[in-house]
């Protein structure tokens, strides 16, 4: 959890004026396609700020590791001998080879297979074969260690030694992460079901935008609405005047489709009811007390994008991985719950497969729609409108800016925070 050096990744272009491309009610389409802007995003967002890496439950035991990518940097998230979580750059300090090649596993140390250099799980260089010809002290070289911090088991990392605190980055979005964790009677989620990855020939920013866009659902997902009854019927698919759910701007680019006001019964968000899972309902009540448990089971999990690359997709956890200006990958895993029956978790897995991933009833269509958007934005591009609902936003009792579920409050929140981050020196 320490930072060894603060080497920055090359120089970024500071001559792009994001104020010229992002206004209150519109953004320029070139933001999705320009290679120089993508390179600038890697520097200013993915290598300077906090980025979601994974969850503590993925590496439950000492020596467990998983491989991830932050921006374009390969990293390893692991649990060291003391049980602490480290995020290390997966690149040998000698000749730049990967020191970890499997997607996940358990290792007492990290060994580069090129020349046999060995590192501890804290990134220290422990052994160099044939040391006679090595003129340096081993302490001079190591695997780069990122600043790492967790909240509710969600592990975030930053390449930037001087990054703001994770608390400041998350702000009130900690309440959203709390809501995810509190779906379990033990307060712990369990990301052990595996990750499915979906490739989008589209810019990464379209994903957090689309994830919290309530306006498209009636159109892109009309075929879903026709053949499946779900909690989205009352939450998103009613007529404009009848919809009670909201778009919310939690600050710092964190956004939400707040679907809960439309739920009429507990567990509706799981397509279920309390009498279907009496044990889960009872365990929640003994864990949180009657009133709070009722609220949790009624309100359900958040549908929220946490800037820049985490989506709390109700009972799914989603990572957005940028590849280049025209391509990204969405990772998803069902948000299994600790302390519940296998039956509840199986239901969560099947619900996840219905909604998320390349063949799902929902995301298969989102993928195509974003790819068409990417195609149309090539070339000269143009201004894109983001004015919907600008005149009817209100600040609720919770102090959060909210709009109608079909309004672009969430998209504006994302872009205005993006403008701030990208304009910083």
């Amino acid at each position: 959890m320490n930072v060894i050096d603060n080497v920055t990744h090359g120089s970024s272009s500071n001559d792009i004026d994001y104020g010229d491309l992002i206004e209150t009610d519109r953004i320029h389409g070139s933001l999705y396609t320009r290679d120089d802007i993508f390179a600038d995003e890697l520097e200013k967002i993915f290598y300077s700020g906090w980025v979601f890496v994974g969850h503590a439950s993925e590496i439950p035991k000492k020596n467990d590791y998983v491989r991830r990518t932050i921006g374009q940097e390969p990293v390893v998230m692991l649990r060291n001998k003391k049980g602490d979580i480290n995020v290390l750059v997966n690149r040998c300090a000698h000749r730049g080879n990967m020191v970890c090649v499997h997607d996940r596993g358990s290792a007492k140390f990290l060994k580069c297979l090129y020349h046999g250099w060995i590192y501890s799980l804290d990134g220290e260089l422990l052994d160099v074969p044939s040391p006679g010809g090595f003129p340096k002290d081993k302490s001079e070289l190591r695997l780069r260690s990122l600043r790492t911090q967790s909240y509710q088991g969600f592990v975030f990392a930053s390449f930037n030694e001087n990054v703001i605190s994770l608390e400041e980055h998350l702000g009130r979005a900690t309440e959203l992460l709390d809501r995810s964790a509190h779906m379990s009677p033990t307060g712990k989620i369990d990301l052990s079901a595996g990750w499915v990855r979906q490739k989008f020939s589209a810019n990464w920013k379209m994903l957090p935008e689309n994830d919290t866009d309530g306006y498209h659902v009636d159109f892109v997902h009309s075929s879903f609405a026709k053949v499946i009854s779900s909690h989205y019927d009352s939450a998103i698919l009613e007529s404009e005047a009848d919809l009670k759910s909201q778009t919310k701007d939690w600050g710092s680019g964190h956004t939400e489709l707040y679907l809960s006001p439309s739920y009429e019964r507990p567990l509706q968000w799981l397509g279920s009811a309390p009498d279907r899972f009496p044990e889960y309902t009872a365990d929640m009540k003994s864990a949180y007390g009657e009133e709070k448990a009722d609220n949790i089971l009624m309100e359900g999990p958040p549908h929220s994008a946490i800037f820049p690359n985490l989506f709390l997709g109700e009972m799914n956890i989603v990572i957005i991985q940028p590849i280049n200006a025209n391509e990204c990958v969405q990772w998803h895993t069902p948000m299994l719950l600790d302390g519940v029956s296998d039956e509840v978790n199986s239901k969560i897995i099947r619900q996840s497969e219905a909604a998320m991933g390349p063949s799902a009833f929902l995301l298969a269509d989102d993928g195509i729609i974003s790819e068409r958007q990417q195609i149309a934005l090539q070339g000269k591009s143009d201004w894109l409108d983001l004015s919907r609902g600008l005149e009817r936003e209100t600040i609720g009792d919770d102090g959060i800016l909210a709009g109608h579920i079909s309004d672009e409050t969430t998209n504006r929140s994302f872009w205005h925070h993006y403008r701030d981050v990208m304009s910083a020196n």
Binding site: G194, R197, S223, E353, S359, D365
Partner: protein, 164 residues
């Protein structure tokens, strides 16, 4: 147990027909080949995991498969509007009769898909299929398992809204 060539040819022809109906997006005709206890399963990789504890790309029981076909038949399943022109090659067919009326069939395939809805690129989908087939009382063959193990099933994949 080994089977006579004629029986093998009948199973092989079933696989060819199933592939052609899928290639041509003839959803309801394809669905007519499915028995009531069908599992249509596209795991990650080889699928050497417990599907009640791990997530798959697709794991449709009969009811969910019916919904999938109904969604495609709305004409508004935009990930397949227009439908992808597709052709697949089936080979390395191995047939095992598991009891008086049922067969387990392994085959390899390569599917070429034109992503006509978005990028207009040809996507190549290589893999292996395990079918479980049953001869019904009226003599017809139906399938009750189609498990599609993509060579790249653990990698990032674009939309698979068609029947793979």
């Amino acid at each position: 147990m080994t089977i006579p060539y004629e029986e093998y040819a009948e199973i092989r022809d079933f696989l060819y027909m199933e592939a052609r109906l899928a290639d041509e997006s003839r959803y309801s005709e394809w669905e007519a080949l499915v028995d009531n206890d069908m599992l249509y399963w596209v795991p990650r990789g080889e699928g050497d995991f417990d599907m009640s504890k791990h997530v798959s790309i697709t794991s449709d029981n009969r009811k969910r498969l019916k919904t999938r076909i109904a969604q495609l038949n709305t004409g508004e399943r935009y990930a397949q509007v227009p439908v992808s022109p597709m052709r697949r090659m089936i080979s390395n067919i191995e047939v095992e009769r598991t009891n008086e009326t049922e067969y387990r069939v392994l085959s390899n395939f390569v599917l070429y898909e034109l992503r006509a809805q978005s990028t207009n690129n040809v996507e190549v989908w290589p893999g292996r299929i395990e079918h479980k087939l049953r001869r019904c009382e009226n003599g017809e063959i139906k399938m009750f398992l189609k498990k599609v193990m993509l060579v790249n099933g653990n990698e990032p994949l674009p939309s698979i809204a068609f029947i793979i």
